[in-house]
């Protein structure tokens, strides 16, 4: 209030824009000194003289009610210049009516406290209310800010039973949560201890069992009760009886799918390991046949299970994913679409696991491709046969073939790649999404068929019994409602609002029945009423019934025929009494209309959702025809049926239930038609419901609408995964190809999005202009019509207005200044749903800014519409004519939703083209880079025989040529350097040897010369000299021998550095140097430790792998096996093999089959292996491959 007063003082009261900011929460009014409303908010719902309760002083809060809504209110005065104004604020607290449709929002303080305190509250919003004397209840006065009583609140005392129940509930819930936590901890314990279990199969069985028990425990303990307020545990959205309730609601389905997906992924990883460990082994034919038959059957049953599950998602749910053309699904729809994606992924991954098991057991590994193709056709054939013997196959042949094709592509991807790649998961998710969407689409088509039938039954569902029940129930409610009694007592109660309240809270509104509720005083004069699709001529004629009803003290229900019609009125009347006697009467009348086709002539904001009961299709897309006794009496369609079409309808092949299905063309478009024949009240009625078959563009729209939602889920999952990865490893590795593809997509998306926004905005602007234009035309027509009648006839304004509505077919409201005069839809004004005052913004434009027209957006509940206010001169005075598209819809050539559909379809197709083209182009651009990368690694590991093919003539081609030239030069230089070094080494060695040998030879020569001289001289010292010389010679010979030994040691290899190494790790490190994607290197077997020199052993494997690659092998398998205390490493390739004549020489030094080979690779390998006590042998070689075996002692 202070804020509002401040705003008013700051600016003029009139034209004050600031004050409307309060309108979002409060209703306000400003009155002048004459108590005339001079400023008001968007929805004042009070008449001028009832706006303030003068019992209370300014600044005091109090309750005030207009029968429809109870408010908390306050008024105060504000002095501006010399004038004193009254400012009133209202805050709505309680709506006393309800409208069963999507536009209505509940507002109830009582309901809020009921939920909060878990008991029944009753709030009386008037100061005269008395405290309850019911001993079971507490009753307290509600005091305002001045401690004056303004109302009474009464609530049931918490009973001992309720308290105990609450405690018991809380206790049970806590217990349940603790049980779940405990079970979870048990699971962690099992996980920890499972490391000791060697068998993966046993581990899998234990986990699967544990997860199933956990799942049922969550169901049994009703943990999902936590989610009750979110709607995801509401059975109406989805509910299946499968598994005793594990799919009883969307959230239960979600939890079950999470558990199943964990089981399936565990099974898949087990199958994957099984495949990698045993796929190179030839199985027996018996094993292959048995696994093929068993797992093919399980495969087919899984596919059928998937179909049945998706069907249940459509049939056992009230969600309709294709009904609205809105692109953004609601929260619950998104949740169920995620569940559907999970379903598909579980089925897909599970069936791929089955295929892995079959494919592991092929009898002959050399012909794997043949077995692959054979298995594919076998599974297709088996699935076809299975479907033929089913009474109701799940899915279509196309879906079946596609599913099997996708799973076999997945199998091929695993066979070709060593590791479980990320792209695999993405591809599986996308494939699953495509399959489940196709299934959803198929079952939705069936649901649409069923819904045609439902529509026909619904249109014939109403019967007299239901209407009598509706009348009875409304009257009972009326006479037991305290407020009904009060409406007879208090003048300020709006009896029409009371009638509306009774009507809205009854089945009459729920079923949108053409009906009327009236309040009559003691003398049978009408004091208020509300009519819905009820013409004035049907009002009750008291003169006809006054004698029978004059002394009425009970509910009386009777029928009344309608002249010249098969319809009738079902009426009910009851007296409203208190201790003083009869205060008045309530009457309810319902039209029993046999030919009713639903509610199309009533404003959307008041019609119940239930009347559009076709659950799968937008009702407006149906064409409905109604035949009575073979004659078309009613239709909802722009199309007139031809004679032939009528004949085909009436002569349709009806079954025992009077149902028939046919197809025919309407407006050159194929339509599916359901016909229902019923006999009722002696009248034969044929209802025809026709639906246009969807064309390709709608089919695409339906598909992509859900596909993009699924892609979004997949991307979110990947983003979460990458975020965790980034957090753990501090980097994300994206290849050049992926970066290029993402760049393509981003660059293409931006203009697409901009164009979409632009087109959408243009269409919205055009539509707004079209609406304004059409409303203006209507307003002008009405103005001219009324002006003509005021001049030419003596009709009063009300009659002229009715004639205008009938002749022009447009509803309107008339104001004089800001004051309401009349309306052709007066019942909504009289009850207070629409304020009887001009919109304040429109008023300002028309009367302050001097404009003649103003268009504003208005709302009733949450139903938005456009109102056009037209100021005109009628009968010598200024009037304002208001026309809206809320009562009379305006058809636009292209609605906003249709624009979204067309843009989305184009966008989706464009995205697919961009992705395909982007993928192709990216591969083309990145291929040479990838080849260069692999070649560089090979060069780094010592292989100088690589050559990259240059396919393009651009910079990349030049780079490739440059690289090839560099490698050739490197090779040539390396050879020259090696030769030079060899020569230098030999020269040096020879020089050294010559020098070292010369040293002992010189003293030997001198000694012998001395001996010869002594012999010739016959020296007496000859014997002594002989001994000395021989000694010298022997010493020098020893020296020569030492020289020779030292040189021999020099030529020997360096000593190995022995340590404990992991053989699998060494092999993996060696393999990592070879990153050519064309070559597959598989390793299988467990980890073992041996004692060896790490580097030397690594060089052995590098050597063997390189030899295989150089022998044109593209598939190398390395298997590690243990037998007793020995480790066997088998290296098998599919290269061209070793020539028979070379087999014995391969381990010789200097033997090489390559032009530039040194001839020391295998010989060094052999030396290294033998140095650590092992053995390397060539087991087998032919033109299909070579097998080496390394035998090593285990530690």
């Amino acid at each position: 209030m202070s804020d509002l007063k401040g705003k008013l003082k700051a600016q003029n009261i009139i034209n004050n824009q600031d004050i409307y900011s309060i309108s979002s929460r409060y209703i306000f009014a400003v009155l002048d000194e004459d108590n005339t409303i001079i400023e008001w908010s968007f929805s004042p719902v009070f008449n001028q003289n009832k706006i303030i309760d003068n019992y209370f002083r300014p600044g005091e809060t109090y309750f005030i009610s207009n029968s429809l809504v109870d408010y908390l209110s306050i008024y105060d005065t504000v002095k501006i210049s010399s004038y004193t104004y009254k400012v009133v604020l209202f805050e709505p607290l309680e709506k006393n009516y309800q409208i069963q449709n999507k536009y209505y929002s509940l507002l109830s303080l009582t309901e809020h406290y009921n939920r909060k305190f878990n008991t029944n509250f009753e709030i009386n919003y008037f100061r005269e209310a008395v405290l309850s004397r019911d001993g079971r209840k507490h009753s307290l006065p509600i005091l305002n800010n001045n401690n004056n009583k303004i109302g009474v609140v009464t609530f049931f005392k918490p009973t001992r039973e309720t308290e105990l129940q609450n405690i018991s509930y809380n206790f049970d819930f806590t217990q349940s949560v603790l049980t779940v936590v405990l079970f979870f901890l048990i699971g962690l314990l099992i996980l920890k201890n499972s490391i000791t279990i060697k068998s993966r199969f046993t581990k899998f069985i234990i986990f699967a069992f544990y997860l199933l028990i956990f799942r049922y425990l969550i169901l049994y303990l009703n943990i999902t009760a936590l989610t009750t307020s979110w709607g995801i545990s509401n059975s109406k959205y989805f509910s299946s009886l499968f598994g005793n309730g594990i799919a009883g609601s969307p959230v239960e389905l979600f939890i079950s799918l999470i558990a199943f997906s964990v089981i399936v992924f565990l099974a898949f990883s087990y199958a994957l390991d099984y495949f990698h460990n045993y796929n190179d082994r030839d199985s027996s034919w018996f094993t292959f046949t048995a696994t093929s038959l068993t797992f093919t059957l399980v495969f087919i049953l899984s596919l059928r299970g998937l179909g049945a599950s998706v069907k249940s998602v459509v049939v056992d749910s009230s969600l309709r994913y294709y009904r609205e053309s809105s692109l953004i699904p609601s929260g619950i729809e998104s949740f169920m679409l995620f569940n559907v994606l999970l379903l598909g992924l579980i089925a897909f991954v599970g069936t791929v696991a089955f295929l892995l098991i079959i494919y592991t057991n092929v009898p002959n590994n050399r012909g794997r491709l043949n077995y692959f193709v054979g298995l594919f056709f076998f599974v297709q054939l088996a699935a076809l046969v299975f479907d033929l013997i089913q009474r109701e196959p799940q899915g279509t042949p196309f879906i079946r073939v596609l599913f099997i094709l996708f799973t076999f592509i997945a199998l091929l991807m695993i066979d070709k790649k060593q590791n479980w790649r990320f792209t695999n998961i993405f591809v599986y998710s996308v494939a699953s999404s495509i399959i489940v969407i196709l299934l959803l689409t198929q079952y939705n088509s069936l649901a649409e068929r069923t819904s045609l039938k439902n529509t026909a039954y619904n249109l014939t569902r109403q019967n007299e019994d239901l209407l009598k029940f509706a009348v009875q129930e409304t009257l009972v409610r009326a006479i037991t409602d305290r407020e009904t009694v009060q409406s007879f007592y208090f003048d300020n109660k709006n009896a029409s609002s009371m009638a509306f309240k009774l009507w809205s809270n009854s089945i009459l509104q729920k079923e949108s029945l053409g009906s009327s509720v009236s309040l009559l005083d003691y003398n049978h004069n009408k004091i208020g009423s509300f009519d819905f699709r009820f013409i004035k001529e049907y009002e009750i004629d008291w003169d006809k019934y006054s004698i029978e009803l004059s002394d009425l003290h009970e509910i009386k229900i009777f029928e009344e025929s309608i002249l010249y019609s098969d319809n009738k009125l079902i009426r009910g009347i009851a007296s409203v009494e208190d201790v003083e006697g009869v205060l008045g009467y309530v009457t309810v009348s319902v039209i029993y209309d046999l030919s009713s086709l639903g509610v199309f002539d009533a404003p959307e904001f008041i019609v119940s959702d239930a009347s559009y009961i076709n659950d799968s299709i937008d009702f407006s897309k149906l064409k409905i025809f109604d035949f009575h006794q073979g004659t078309l009496i009613n239709s909802i369609s722009n199309y007139n049926l031809g004679e032939n079409e009528i004949i085909s309808i009436l002569d349709a092949p009806f079954n025992q239930y009077g149902e028939a299905w046919i197809k025919f063309e309407i407006n050159n478009e194929d339509h599916l038609v359901f016909i229902l024949k019923r006999e009722r009240e002696g009248i034969s009625r044929v209802i025809v419901i026709a639906l246009q078959e969807k064309d390709l563009s709608w089919g695409l729209f339906d598909f992509f609408k859900i596909f993009f939602v699924h892609i979004l889920f997949i991307l979110i999952a990947f983003t979460i995964y990458f975020s965790v990865f980034l957090f753990k490893y501090r980097k994300i590795k994206l290849s050049f190809a992926v970066k290029l593809l993402l760049s393509f997509i981003l660059i293409s998306l931006i203009p697409l999005i901009l164009v979409s926004f632009f087109f959408r905005n243009i269409t919205s602007e055009k539509n707004e202009y079209a609406i304004e234009y059409k409303l203006e035309k209507r307003a002008v027509s009405i103005s001219n019509y009324l002006e003509n009648y005021s001049v030419k006839s003596s009709l009063n304004l009300n009659t002229a207005a009715d004639k205008a509505k009938n002749d022009l077919g447009v509803d309107f409201t008339l104001f004089r200044g800001s004051r309401y005069i009349l309306s052709t839809q007066n019942q909504f004004y009289d009850v207070g749903l629409i304020p009887k005052i001009v919109n304040p913004v429109a008023y300002q434009r028309l009367f302050s800014h001097g404009l003649t027209e103003a268009i504003v957006k208005e709302k009733i509940e949450n139903y938005s519409f456009n109102s056009f206010y037209y100021k005109t001169s009628l009968f010598g005075e200024y009037y304002v004519i208001k026309v809206t598209d809320g009562f009379n819809k305006i058809m636009l050539p292209l609605s906003g939703e249709e624009v979204d559909v067309y843009i989305f379809i184009s966008y989706s197709v464009a995205m697919v083209i961009i992705l395909i083209l982007g993928f192709v182009l990216t591969n083309q651009f990145s291929k040479p880079i990838e080849s260069l990368k692999n070649a560089t690694r090979s060069v780094a590991s010592g292989d100088l025989n690589v050559e990259v093919k240059a396919t393009s003539k651009d910079e990349v081609g030049e780079l490739v040529k440059g690289f090839n030239y560099m490698v050739k030069e490197l090779k040539r230089s390396q050879a020259e350097i090696a030769e030079f070094e060899r020569e230098t080494a030999w020269k040096e060695m020879a020089k050294q040897v010559a020098h070292e040998i010369k040293n002992p030879l010189t003293p030997m020569k001198l000694s012998v010369q001395q001996l010869i001289a002594s012999y010739n001289d016959k020296s007496p010292k000859f014997d002594q000299l002989f001994g000395k010389v021989t000694n010298t010679i022997i010493n020098q010979i020893e020296t020569l021998k030492n020289i020779a030994s030292e040189f021999s040691s020099f030529a020997r290899m360096p000593n190995p550095k022995l340590e404990f190494v992991n053989i699998k790790e060494i092999i993996s490190d060696s393999i990592n140097l070879f990153d050519d994607e064309r070559i597959t290197i598989d390793v299988s077997g467990n980890d073992y430790n041996i004692e060896a020199d790490r580097d030397q052993l690594k060089r052995v494997f590098i050597n063997l792998i390189r030899n295989s690659i150089q022998a044109d092998a593209d598939n190398i398998k390395i298997k590690i096996e243990q037998e007793n205390e020995l480790l066997y490493i088998i290296i098998k390739d599919n290269g061209k093999g070793i020539k028979t004549e070379d087999v014995d020489k391969i381990f010789e030094v200097n033997f090489s089959t390559k032009q530039y080979g040194m001839g020391i690779g295998l010989s060094m390998a052999k030396k290294t292996i033998e140095n650590i006590g092992g053995e390397i042998t060539l087991k087998e070689t032919n033109n299909e491959g070579t097998i080496f075996q390394i035998k090593l002692p285990l530690v």
Partner: protein, 140 residues
């Protein structure tokens, strides 16, 4: 004289009883079904009620629970309803077992949060494969 009155009374009684039997025999299945449904609501027994639920039944309760639902959905919706509103008493205040569409309506007295309340329930039946199924349940 008294004997005559006695005979007249007996004849009258026989005619009335016969008429009732004939009337009941007009649609004995419908009557049986109505009684069983009444009993199911009286005891809050969804299993008993589920015998008469067809694959597409119109169900109307609150504003967001109105429409045609499948067997599974109706089963769970009614189960949830009985759990939230525990049955104390139900009986049909009015029922009709004519051949076209037998119906009945009555007051369902329940206990919720220790407090009693009541809902008006309307049920109509429809024949299918020589058995009666519930075609519509309206709870208000």
């Amino acid at each position: 004289m008294n004997t005559y009155r006695y005979y007249i009374f007996l004849i009258f009684l026989l005619i009335t009883v016969n008429h009732s039997i004939v009337q009941a025999q007009d649609n004995p299945d419908a009557l049986k079904t109505i009684i069983r449904i009444e009993d199911a609501f009286n005891n809050g027994n969804v299993e008993q009620l589920s015998e008469y639920i067809d694959n597409k039944t119109y169900f109307s309760f609150t504003s967001d629970l109105t429409g045609y639902f499948s067997y599974s959905q109706i089963y769970n919706l009614i189960k949830d309803y009985f759990e939230a509103y525990k049955a104390i008493k139900f009986s049909f205040a009015s029922k009709s077992i004519n051949a076209d569409s037998p119906f009945g309506w009555g007051e369902y007295i329940y206990l919720k949060n220790g407090l009693r309340g009541s809902h008006k329930i309307f049920i109509s039946l429809q024949s299918s494969d020589s058995k009666f199924y519930i075609s519509q349940i309206s709870i208000n």
